[in-house]
Point group: C3
């Protein structure tokens, strides 16, 4: 029985039996990322671009932030995976997002949608997010406020930071699986809803300092794309990115307890991650959807 068959048999097994094969797939994805250095096409916000590029380089990927509409199609065509982030959109970025998502769908490329700031306060981007959904992202990732709003539920958002708790909202996000393979909600614990596995993967770890470093979530979205480019399936890629992030955050916090030095240590630990770290630190629970 291969990994996929194991995943697909969730209805018949104790869910905790899936931990071990899932972690094996994650380790394999991590090895592939280092080896293949996939090219990731990233359209992201002005705040995040430097940080996201550094996180992806540290993890082993090759990021490129091409965000103009004139090169979007040709670059999406050669990229191994794509991340579209709505943080600080410009008119040209908006055009590029649509072309890129459309190209991704046509070529069956993995693409990750990060609907930063989704909600009634920011209608321009929220309409674009709704448009982008028709190009069927592989993964939708966001914080609890964004994902909750996108799933059509009421709730208050405050700018780009969440006012909701991931643990309280994740089950309400399952309707979003009609648009994508995985929904990933970041928070104190991260929750990944997988259509393929028909389960939720809860990932613990990280540090309370993570939300004090701007663009952490944006970097996570891009790292999901990087991992999906080399993973056997979207669920494994999404889980692998979250585990990589959570372990690096946890180890960084052991070394540094304030935000400036934490951020330096975090990049170090993203770069330094080893197979043994995944085995020792990965803290996941598989829950019913």
């Amino acid at each position: 029985m291969n990994q996929s068959e194991k995943f697909n048999s969730t209805m018949n097994t104790d869910l905790s039996d899936l931990n071990s094969p899932l972690l094996e797939s994650v380790i394999q994805a991590w090895t592939e990322l280092k080896t293949n250095q996939p090219l990731v096409h990233i359209i992201t916000n002005a705040v995040a671009s430097n940080y996201v590029a550094n996180v992806l380089l540290a993890a082993g990927a090759s990021p490129a932030m091409i965000d103009n509409p004139f090169e979007a199609e040709s670059f999406a065509t050669i990229a191994s995976a794509i991340n579209i982030n709505l943080g600080t959109p410009t008119s040209e970025q908006m055009q590029a997002m649509q072309i890129t998502a459309q190209t991704a769908q046509q070529l069956s490329k993995v693409w990750v949608l990060d609907p930063v700031g989704y909600g009634p306060v920011l209608p321009w981007r929220s309409e674009m997010v709704n448009t982008l959904l028709q190009y069927r992202p592989s993964v939708i990732r966001g914080n609890a406020s964004e994902i909750n709003g996108l799933a059509g539920n009421q709730g208050e958002s405050k700018g780009v930071d969440s006012t909701l708790n991931s643990a309280e909202t994740y089950l309400q996000a399952s309707t979003l699986l009609e648009h994508c393979e995985c929904v990933a909600i970041s928070g104190e614990s991260d929750f990944i809803l997988s259509k393929q596995m028909n389960t939720v993967v809860k990932i613990n770890g990280g540090s309370y300092l993570q939300p004090k470093v701007t663009a952490s979530g944006c970097a996570l979205g891009a790292l999901i794309a990087a991992y999906c480019a080399v993973s056997e399936n979207v669920t494994t890629g999404t889980v692998a990115a979250h585990i990589h992030f959570a372990i690096a955050g946890q180890k960084a916090f052991e070394l540094a307890s304030s935000v400036g030095s934490f951020n330096v240590a975090f990049l170090d630990e993203i770069f330094n991650l080893k197979e043994e770290d995944i085995q020792q630190y990965a803290d996941i629970e598989i829950l019913p959807l």
Copy 2:
């Protein structure tokens, strides 16, 4: 007699008697910032955006860099305070700045104007700054060259770095108080001209490395907005931001003597600031206007 009455009685008192109540207000503002995490709407330049967001998160605020004209009004409406910085304007940012400033004035929100690069060499932004003045910023902050030029005085500017000394120019800036509540000039010492207190607050501290870290001034402008969102008045908020910055800079320099590690330590110290630090390190003088 409450703080405001104390401030308003400056004509009748020895100015040094105001130090203590001002520092008490600053400590209160610092507590409020940590507690309330005000949402700050920031339109800033491409160089500064990541750094500014990290400084504000470290200080306890919730920054969001929404800089498109299509969401400017609705976001300014929900923000607690606003910072507009002219560093690397685009046409869309320019439109967003005007809408945002107008909204701020209509809703009586605190907004901070940072006229980066103001001067005859950069006419496009300088004209926009002149336009924005009609929406009555709460605070105008800049380096000595920018503030001097904006006050209608002659002087040479060199790009975005100042060629003038804050101590020699601050009194010439008092005409700008017709447009705003406070004028803040950063430099080796910072000078804050307060219309309400009818005094100048001189703030010592920081480090000679500060101008070697790009976007320090931009981050200070955004931090002023964050503090004003939670302060009893604009003078207290402006002074509090400068004191927070100056202490963090001074403490960081005790830990790190080169720019890369200084910058890391600076973010750490912005995050770590405690009430005792304000009491121990704050170095202010109140001077006649």
Copy 3:
């Protein structure tokens, strides 16, 4: 015999005899950079802007990222040198690039072209690069893939990272000297083709971590401009920037072996460079062109 005469007599001398006078010129350029703090007009990409500004400030220059078409001409007029980088162009940046390059040529200012991502996959920017060549950049710098493609040779590029080796491609880049004074190719070793000296300067040093920090090449391009602003000629300025970078990278790696802390140490070492470091660490070879 002055430095230039020594350089110009390469046909008649053992090339290694040129090392010493070249390093003397580099030390002089380094002194001038610290003393004169030249204003560098930089049009660069969203990923790089903060990092590039910090590297230039650390080295002693005064960077300004003015990238709108409305201020491009007047700012290029007052700048001491210019750097144009095609990393993440917008329509407005593209207009600004053309105005700036044209102004530079008209005023005989040093300007450095960094054709990031040049190649058939990214036609919009590649056409702009071809247009900019008519304004005769002083220096063209890039990685091996970009320079090889620009020189009209076949080769595969992968986004913005190179798939070619600088040592294998540098001689094929000599045709580009019809457009400029120097061609600089960064890689494990850097190669600088000088029309004036009719030689290639090979520079060793740096660290394998350098390409793991995003925008390193972009910062190097801007530093070339900064050095050229204060150097006796473009070759010296280009070599000086590469030596400064290579030594800082090598020394940083002695202090830090992971990317986050390496990057902090690198900025520290850019700032801390001393004359003795250049004498002790500079590792150059002068080769025939």
